[in-house]
Amino acid sequence: MLKLPRLRPFDYIAAAFAVALIAAAAVSAYSSGSEASRLKVQTAGGEFVYDLRSDATLDFDGPIGITRIEIKDGTARVLSSPCRQQICVNSGALDSGGDWTACLPNRVFLEVTGADETEVDALSY
């Protein structure tokens, strides 16, 4: 049968490194904290979902024109909007679960879902 060798220091180091690597990979992949943050966009033309980790510039058609949304570095913002008041553009970047903004005239609603970093359940404004 197999004649087992005497294991030497580096064998243990390599095995320990491998176990640590597996543990690190498992933690980073499966820990609930790293649940993917997503950008949900509701428009007159349907519902869209994007991964906040992949940068993109997106155009959405609405009743009064095109709302342009940018996803960058894990945050989402409205770059430009055909609306007059520009509330959506001014509300800045959305980054944590529950953040949202909307362009009412163009019927575009953005919401970040996923890991809820805010400690409140809802916001009164």
Binding site: K3, P5, D11, Y12, A18, I22, A26
Partner: protein, 181 residues
């Protein structure tokens, strides 16, 4: 080219034989049914592991090239992603195993070399999977792959060690000064 470094006929034979062993084992592995198309035992790495103690870097790279190319030819996947995966895995594992095998005998055994090589190969292939096919989902399968790779590479290290310690063929090619981990 210096005449000294020109491989002798027997050395060329040895390179070809080890390369043939790689391809043969790859074929054996190919015939073993797998639960997932991506999980492999890495049997084809055994000859390279064994060759570490007998061949110089040039010859070793020739065996690795033969393995990659032969595998591609046998499976017909010479110019597809699969080939890219196998090439990346084989090359990175060979480089790492060669580096680790230069450590003194009392520090490392076949098992440690095999684990290092297996990890290098898996990390390289996961990297490619991330870039080319699976995207971020590659991260989710990474722990499973790394764990499987750890187990199989430990097994391969033990087999290599056991084989070399008693093989008459290995004694012949390695000679008295051949390393036995």
């Amino acid at each position: 080219m210096k005449p000294k470094s020109t491989p002798s006929a027997t050395d060329r034979e040895l390179v070809a034989l080890l390369g043939a062993c790689c391809i043969f084992l790859a074929l054996i592995e190919h015939m073993i049914p797998k639960p997932l198309p991506f999980l492999r035992l890495g049997l084809a790495n055994l000859p390279i592991l064994i060759a570490l103690g007998v061949l110089n870097p040039r010859q070793l790279s020739a065996v690795v090239l033969l393995k990659i190319l032969g595998q591609g030819l046998i499976n017909g996947t010479l110019f597809s992603y699969v080939f890219l995966f196998s090439a990346a895995g084989s090359l990175s594992s060979a480089v790492v195993m060669f580096a680790v095998s230069r450590l003194p005998d009392r520090v490392v055994s076949f098992v440690g070399i095999s684990i290092s090589g297996g990890l290098a190969s898996t990390v390289a292939q996961l990297g490619l999977a991330f870039l080319l096919v699976f995207g971020r989902s590659a991260l989710y399968i990474a722990p499973v792959f790394l764990a499987v790779s750890l187990l199989t590479s430990i097994a391969l290290g033990l087999i290599a060690s056991s084989f070399c310690s008693r093989s008459r063929w290995y004694s012949r090619i390695a000679g008295a000064e051949g390393r036995r981990w």
